[in-house]
Symmetry: C2
Subunit: 199 residues, 2 copies
């Protein structure tokens, strides 16, 4: 039996393409309708507003791309391996997916309840890093005065910034970019290891 | 003798306050005029469009806050000291200035020529980091396979991301945040120093 059609999903994918092509502001609902071969009322049957459409685009993107990375990483019991693996996959995702830049930049358009839901998903990634750093710090593997929350935002920031400068016409450079981010962060975290500070 | 009045400068400061309060989209030129006690024509006498106003806001901000940091850093001949000092000052600036978030996010609204001019100023910061890293690498102080450009974007990213999470109601935490960014990056860069790789 074929899978039931998912018109809202297909429309949100089309909308994301149009946002990427024209920008969010310059993509009216009428253009989404026109490209989908629907009337405007046909689009509003699935999304009550353009903001609602943006929210669905965000939600699908997070569910399909970000949450699986977090779920995978959380299955790894060793903190350092969990952290390395998540950061590498997240940085690779940034090099593969130019739409993250649009989504990050337009997240502020979401209504408060939608914005909070999307931020909660991103926060899971920050907490995954923070908790792994805290575990490594407890084991005496990081500087004793390191703040795991600040460190988590440092890691998320260096990786999330990739979408602001990465050349998406050179996808073969993605693994080297991801490795640089992971190595710089992990070596900074594990600096000097046991020898440099008193226990 | 009093300094000559700078009505365009005063208007651009007022506009930045309104952008921060209401968002860029929700700040019409008529509101800028109303708050300034001018007619709309009075505002358009100084700025030919809202985009032009945004450009002037960017340009003033960069000239007053970013370029002095770069100029100061460039006077330091030692690469490591230059890099530490610039990153620390740039991270501190992020913790002190909530308007950077708005400017970074709205930079895409600038017309191509204006956007290119603003990006050139930011690029000076990236090049300052890249060149310092390249110098340290040449002296055998970084991993021999490190790409100085990727490293520069890692540093700019971790510091520029601060405006996305920093709690501006707790300015006293700024120096600790900046120190965390600088320490993580610099230790990551200088990892293992001479012992871990062949010369």
């Amino acid at each position: 039996m074929p899978r039931p059609a998912d018109p809202a999903g297909a429309l949100s994918e089309l909308a994301l393409e149009l946002f990427l092509e024209h920008g969010y502001d310059a993509t009216p609902m009428s253009l989404v309708a026109q490209r989908a071969g629907l009337t405007k009322a046909g689009v509003y049957h699935h999304f009550e507003s353009k903001e609602h459409l943006l929210y669905v685009v965000h939600k699908r993107h997070i569910e399909q791309l970000l949450l699986p990375l977090i779920d995978d990483a959380e299955r790894e019991p060793a903190a350092e391996k969990r952290l390395r693996s998540f950061l590498n996959e997240y940085a690779l995702l940034q090099t593969r997916d130019p739409s993250l830049r649009l989504l990050i930049n337009e997240a502020k358009r979401l209504e408060p309840a939608h914005g909070a839901e999307i931020r909660d998903a991103w926060r899971r990634g920050v907490h995954l890093i923070r908790d792994a750093v805290a575990e490594m710090k407890k084991d005496g593997r990081c500087a004793p005065d390191l703040d795991p929350t600040y460190a988590a935002f440092a890691a998320i920031g260096m990786c999330s910034w990739i979408c602001n400068w990465y050349d998406y016409t050179r996808p073969e450079s993605g693994p080297a970019v991801a490795r640089t981010m992971v190595d710089l962060f992990m070596e900074g975290l594990l600096r000097g290891k046991s020898s440099e500070w008193p226990r």
